[in-house]
Amino acid sequence: MSDRVRPTEDRIAALFRAKAEWHRLQARAPLREKVRILLELQRQDYPLLKRHRRLEWWEEPWIIEP
């Protein structure tokens, strides 16, 4: 068994609560902001996915404004 110092259960619970809260806030972001994030995700993913497989034509990032 490791002798590393580990965070307390309370600390871990607090971290997970904060994480869940952050996801809830993201879910409540204005729709326009969510579309902006979606477009950003598409742009970031594209070169990574392209490296691994041949992409379908419809998998290209959308050239639109949110």
């Binding site: 996801h23 729709l31 969510k34 579309v35 979606l38 598409q42 993913d45 419809w58 050239i63």
Partner: protein, 154 residues
Amino acid sequence: MKSDGVIEDYAIGGAMAVLFYAEPTRTYDLDVFVLLPRSEGTIVVLTPVYAWLEARGFEPRAEHVIIHGVPVQLIPAYNDLVEAAVTESRVLDYEDVSVQVTPPEHLIAIALQTGGGKRRERAFQLLETADIDRGVLVDLLSRFRIQAPWSGDE
């Protein structure tokens, strides 16, 4: 399209509908569930829908139609649950434009009914972060005989 009688009704579905209720997830197309006008035959014909879109300059490409740079897939309601998703859709607003969107409870039910890891993940994502009416969801799952993955835990 509705006023021209090409479709009876519609609702945005899939990951773009999820966007209205939960965190953004990756998607590359926009799914739209459509109710087609009733006809005599038993075969679903999308020709009038595509003709209507082409007449307005929207280019069909394989299974999609490109509408203002976005690949859109028009999916005729393929079962009672998807039909309910359209008839019970919510009218929401995007930049002052009213759009009909599949309710989050229906999105969860469709994801569970369709199955697969990605859709199951979508169902849990909605359950955890969206405002879900649990009563509506339970009723939907029972109405369409869908087994909830969490029902074994209770």
